[in-house]
Symmetry: D2
Subunit: 342 residues, 4 copies
């Protein structure tokens, strides 16, 4: 049965990625696309790679007839998103890709995002969208909050280990390598090709990256106590992809066993054979996540490396996976395309 | 109705691209994969990005039971291909991705490839696989010869113009920019990342690129007389994609009209509005070809720029498009995935 | 004898490149750096790669005491440059890196740059800064206009051929591949890494690139008649470098001989052996220009390919080469650093 | 006073980098270049970017008259190097860039390099070439062993901290990002542009990277006890550069103070202001190393990030710095060129 879909904020990278994935989705039909500053333009003038598709022109949100829409993806900037969603019909199913509804605690939101939340009721209603761990809640949800792309990667690596109590919670270090599309289509000097090529730079070093709010919330909930991890993000000269290298205290064999069992039946999470190291390009433009485990010459140390595509599994692919559940479809519908390599 | 597919030479880039595209093809089932030097290995050890798929291990060609196969893609190196295909059951449908059957003339083959053809009968039987221009022949063919990726790009830009007689045949210049995957997964110094990054280099300058053999054959046939174009290929620091910039003598409006009409009903060929210039990334990992036309300040000059992904529309996507026809399927089956951008 | 140098507009790429080159120049001393919006900041906050140098802070132009300055490099944006230079002491030697003084004809300037020139007297005074062809004038000049980087590349390829009358002036086609730093440190969407990586796009197609104004002026002067060339620029996924592929009607041997002789004694222009093709990376971060010549299978056609680094030989290196002459130094002083490879 | 220099193994990247740096060195004169497989060829056929230089052709080592040579750089592969150096006149000063003489302990060498050392006496004679920490020994040495490029980076970050006893020696984690030229000009599949672009992959995970032998040796010597660090290297899509992110237990202010004081008078080591994070591109093609320090939200944790160019400061630049000392020159001679940015 076809479902009518709206994408709010279709002129950014996650919006374009949603359109790309829905292009071959068997039951989703794009009925509305919005882009405030570009309202009135055809999508192909913003993203010429979509010119072969028969898409509605970009519209303003207030011009959309939501009574015809089954589900809306909201790919708007943080803060804008909560204002827009608060005005949508409260029966409309929504998958939000911004950071606005990821943190359940209003204070935590204020701390990490620098201002009070303006839609507290919605914040309480929203379900955290890490599909593999919130399936039942997502199936029943009206509003799902897409996770941070880096937050998703780290959680795939560590949630089962924290649950199983097989790693030392006081020694979790995550070294993050993140490609530039995670910053969106924004005009910032450090995102220029001339600056980023042949470059690597740490940023938000020392515990200031906003996705730490998600790690704090989720890991503490699993651990049953306050848990703080250490995270150093680095911007890398690539367009799509995240690699999270996790330095842990624990037994490698045990860690491998826990991860293997946890994801044995997951369609999108692949735990590699013990000692094999995943590479970022192996998941490009796909909804897959690869995880590798290796022991260390220092006894009791183990390294877990996870990789996914920030725009697909880390954002728009995850959003469609969640929408499939919310609309009663098979979770994998439209998402089984193989990674693009090379 | 499902069709059983074999891929001979699955351990190279075009082989992997075939598998990637077939992963979401509704009626093709991969029944056999071969890779001589890697026979016995699982495909995931050669291409870990395919590890989520349930694929047969790489086998040796002589171990394949072709009685169960409806169509074989042959992604072997030039010269090897003709030897292998000559030994296959002569009822088996074959799409060859090598250069072995592109040239109908035995002498031309010997000239461009430096040795006599060893399967002349097959060479005469083979149909040239430029789908948009050989549809009927391909539908009826047993053996189809995939075109050169650069040759495809140039022909999409120029065939309708030569047919229509709207450009000066003695002044056709093609400046080619080609990404590195066109050279395959071969260990050559100039393909190393350290050599190719921040680099551009012309090669086969002066009329020695082998795809000229295809241009000569096809363009001469259309023109009804010997026709020689000028071509300078350049290797660019990118992985996928071809841009062909064609310098022509002709009227821009007329040229645009001819191309627009020629491709009006083609599902994969997009002629951009007059004056718009296509960019390589807009067709990445897709079966689409974008073509742009611009006039010049010098009267009577026109520039036509065409771009496609060498591994998809230029090779494996084209091969599947042809296989669809040969097996009685809709030509676009499994090929409508949108380009990956950014 | 040391010379005191000021760099006006030091916060852009050409400004940084001037500082880099002067860092090892034996007789130039940087006495003042300006950057209006960043006045008051240390240079290392704008360009941390220069933090080891003992440089003056960025100042405003009006705060510079030009009586202590022997020569000023002006690396300001077009139009700003002419206003600033008009206010400088008229005895100060100036090398301008903008486009403001490249065109001798006021009408040509107005046509290509879209507004009337505001410093016509200076425009007449300025000497065109293509060192190899204007040495004597530059030595005697007070104001030298740096050439366009693409314009320099094309002229190195073609000036001797036009002078010698060995190519057909009505069939000159130049296909340009230009790296992104040529556009400066400007926040434009198409210069983002996520957009430019894996991309190639033609721009200013059809005869609208501003450097055509320089080609028209210089080539017509040599030819003794109006001469118009055809030029298609392409932006490539690289940071530094230009490759100009020139399609010409002429005899390859003759063309090679003319170029070889023309540049036999030039320290920075290398004509490669007949048939060898230059690559962009071979001149990176250096003041060298490599030129290759190849015949074609079509009799009477010849391809000339020239490459240089747009920031060095195409701009800041050329500027220092000119400043050396203006200050009575050896032309090559500070410029003999070998290219950075790989 | 000029010094006559030979470069053994000039056809690789470190050989070419030596030539590049010596091109503007005021007192070094290149008298001999060797390259066994390419003996007889001009250097410009192996590295066309050096064609403007007046260089001797590549020769075989046995054809060099070492009586005319003051110092030889040996840029040969591991294992070959020890065999070659053992045959050189024992009065010849030698800077070896291979791994052959880095480890003082014969057993450690055998363990990390998989075979017994064949020149034990030389191994004992060799001085470890980390200039900033072995100056006096290097000045007096005949044979200096260049350090590993990654080993150099990590030691610049950590040596002063271990010496000062301000970090917990049992919790040292180093996450390494290394560009591809560190692997040399070798034909390996994972170094192909098509494989490495848009890719990141961990390798030698778990304590198997050979440079750990150097860390073990040097850090244990400073600490006065066996010290084992944890290291995860990652190959990144870049050509030059290393970033080492060190996760430490210690007080950030103290750590910053120790590093600042340690390097206050060093010409090539720049400690950035507290909290500033270095970026890889800021040291490209130069002999500089940038180090940044940042505290963490978790008390008692500190992150130190160091970056340098593997081919310059990590290898050939270091070698020249050492040669300067060995030949009685100022240590910085020929090495003060500013980084190439962008």
């Amino acid at each position: 049965m076809p479902h009518n879909i709206a994408i709010l904020g279709a002129s950014g990278y996650t919006g374009a990625e949603l359109v790309r994935l829905i292009a071959t989705h068997p039951t989703f039909r794009i009925k509305a696309l919005t882009g405030d500053r570009k309202a009135g333009q055809p999508m192909s003038s913003v993203f010429p790679h979509l010119r072969h598709m028969d898409l509605p022109d970009l519209a303003r949100i207030e011009d959309i007839d939501f009574s015809q829409i089954d589900l809306a993806f909201c790919a708007l900037p943080h803060a804008t998103s909560q204002a827009v969603i608060a005005e949508l019909p409260d029966t409309l199913k929504v998958v939000d890709l911004s950071a606005d509804f990821r943190l359940r605690d209003a204070e935590a939101y204020a701390k990490w995002y620098g201002k009070a939340h303006a839609a507290l009721e919605l914040q309480r209603e929203a379900v955290y969208g890490l599909t593999e761990f919130y399936r039942d809640e997502i199936r029943a949800a009206r509003l799902v909050a897409g996770t941070g792309c880096n937050a998703a990667t780290g959680q795939f690596a560590l949630r089962p280990l924290i649950s199983a109590g097989v790693i030392d919670l006081d020694h979790i270090i995550m070294d993050l390598k993140a490609a530039s599309s995670g910053a969106g289509r924004s005009l910032k000097e450090h995102l220029l090709s001339a600056e980023l090529s042949e470059n690597i730079k740490g940023y938000s070093v020392g515990g200031t990256h906003r996705h730490l709010g998600e790690f704090d919330q989720e890991f503490s909930a699993i651990a049953g106590r306050d848990l703080r991890v250490q995270l150093t993000p680095h911007l890398i000269p690539a367009t799509r992809g995240i690699v999270m290298t996790c330095y842990l205290h624990g037994d490698a064999g045990t860690v491998f066993g826990v991860l293997s069992r946890a994801y044995a039946d997951e369609p999108f999470i692949e735990v590699l054979p013990m000692g094999e190291i995943p590479q970022m390009k192996d998941v490009r433009a796909s909804n897959f996540c690869h995880i590798g485990v290796a022991g260390d010459r220092i006894p009791g140390r183990v390294t877990v490396i996870a990789t996914l595509d920030n725009l697909t599994k880390g954002s728009s692919g995850q959003a469609i996976q969640n929408a499939n559940l919310m609309l009663g479809e098979d979770e994998t519908l439209g998402l089984m395309a193989a990674p693009v390599y090379p």
